[in-house]
């Protein structure tokens, strides 16, 4: 998967036509062959852009900041990224007419060790669902009614007894340093004032402790329930390498199995599982 030349051509063309102010893409980080996001405003810098299977980050996250807000933006999205873009469009965070979206039919990206990432092996929506221009050959997978692939970690943990799960997550929450990088790196956490930041709120435990991390991570994952697109930007950003995807995939699997919802963000205009209901929702857990 290498679309470097195509993306450079598209960006150069968009700048020449005056269609965009900023182009958000990837560049090589300068130390090794890993990549970092780059915001290009000068047409001469277009040659910096690359796209290979090391382009791991979700660039939709960069639509939140002042460099791109209220500007015309060109953007590269993979399958998962396009779903988060879809949700941001649905939630009126960005305007579609200000965007030029280069969609990728993604074949999976690799982590720093060169292994294919777990969310890519489990991927159900490899093709960009929002795009002005699509690169690559569409896989043609059924995104709306395709069978749900249960995450292997979730299945493994769900079989373990409660006590072992508690011990496992105790360690996870203990290792959290409360830097909130997961929140910052999430494209769907765009609130100007986040509830888990409010130090004076009596409801909130802002301490850097196990209980504080439990509070923050659980609240955060429940705010993303039904919206998380499993791009794993939070895990890539986490300095403690916490398995944050476990919380999200658990919510996603419960929602998918019990409410017969399709995956978050595959349909424009669909706000996620918690914004609607069905009379047939399971009721057996309620006395």
């Amino acid at each position: 998967m290498n679309y470097t030349k195509e993306i450079q051509d598209i960006a150069a063309k968009l700048f020449a036509e005056g269609k965009i102010d900023v182009f958000v893409g990837y560049r090589v980080n300068g130390f090794d062959d890993n990549q970092v996001p780059v915001l290009i405003t000068d047409p001469q810098d277009v040659s910096k852009l690359v796209f290979t299977d090391k382009s791991v980050f979700n660039l939709v996250n960069y639509l939140k900041n002042d460099h791109t807000r209220r500007k015309r933006v060109g953007l590269v999205v993979k399958g998962c990224d396009s779903r988060s873009l879809n949700l941001m469009l649905t939630e009126s965070q960005v305007k579609r007419e200000n965007l030029y979206v280069v969609g990728i039919c993604c074949e999976g990206v690799v982590d720093e060790a060169g292994q294919k990432m777990q969310n890519c092996t489990d991927c159900m929506v490899p093709d960009a669902v929002v795009s002005d221009e699509l690169l690559g050959t569409p896989s043609g997978s059924d995104t709306l009614s395709g069978s749900y692939k249960m995450n292997a970690d979730i299945a493994m943990l769900a079989e373990k007894p409660l006590t072992e799960r508690a011990a496992y997550f105790e360690e996870v929450f203990e290792n959290c340093i409360r830097c909130n990088a997961c929140r910052h790196s999430c494209p769907l956490c765009y609130c100007a004032k986040c509830c888990i930041d409010q130090e004076t709120a009596t409801l909130y435990n802002g301490a850097n402790t196990t209980s504080g991390a439990f509070h923050a991570l659980m609240t955060w994952s429940l705010h993303l329930a039904g919206r998380c697109v499993d791009c794993r930007n939070c895990e890539k950003a986490c300095p403690s390498h916490l398995p944050l995807h476990l919380l999200h995939k658990q919510n996603e699997s419960v929602i998918y199995e019990n409410f017969q919802e399709h995956l978050a963000g595959v349909v424009t205009g669909d706000r996620g599982a918690f914004y609607k209901y069905s009379l047939k929702d399971p009721d057996d857990f309620i006395m």
């Binding site: 409660l162 011990a167 409801l203 301490a207 209980s211 509070h215 329930a225 918690f274 929702d281």
Partner: protein, 161 residues
């Protein structure tokens, strides 16, 4: 003795070792104003006995219950949570409890996934006419949580990290 216990592991297996003598659970009861709160009122005026372990908070509707409330109460004082609202179809705000039902299921499964016993997070539908049912529900929840013992999960305040 309580300080030595770091997690729920022991409390599930040997509640009698953990629970101090005369220990009583604290249960957070979050009740909807229109049905369950009126139902609990009816229980009282009907002179039906129910355990005093439940601490009741009145909310306008069961969909007012943010999962945050459950997380916060389990993290601080409560040993268990009971959320109660109107029966499906009886919601004062037409559809509030349908929305709430989805959130409750996901919250319960997530809290169970990270290690809370499923009996610590309980939900019920109690209408304004069901005084005896409310007493039965509170009895059951209190019994369940007494069996589980005090909650020690994720309460460590490790500032020295």
């Amino acid at each position: 003795m309580e300080a030595e216990v770091k997690d729920q592991l022991v409390s599930i297996e040997k509640p009698e070792l953990i629970a101090p003598p005369n220990w009583e659970p604290v249960i957070m009861g979050i009740l909807c104003n229109w049905c369950s709160y009126a139902g609990s009122d009816l229980t009282g005026t009907s002179r039906i006995q129910y355990p005093p372990n439940i601490r009741i908070i009145r909310v306008p509707c069961s969909s007012r219950v943010d999962p945050w409330f459950l997380i916060k109460s389990l993290q601080t004082t409560a040993d268990g949570v009971l959320v109660s609202g109107c029966h499906p179809g009886d919601c004062h705000y037409i559809s509030g409890n349908y929305f709430a039902r989805r959130r409750f299921l996901v919250t319960k499964k997530l809290l169970n996934f990270v290690g809370f016993h499923e009996n610590r997070i309980q939900f019920s539908w109690v209408s304004a006419a069901e005084g005896p049912k409310f007493a039965k529900v509170v009895n059951k929840v209190t019994e369940d949580i007494k069996k589980l013992g005090p909650l020690h999960l994720y309460k460590k305040e490790n500032f020295e990290k």
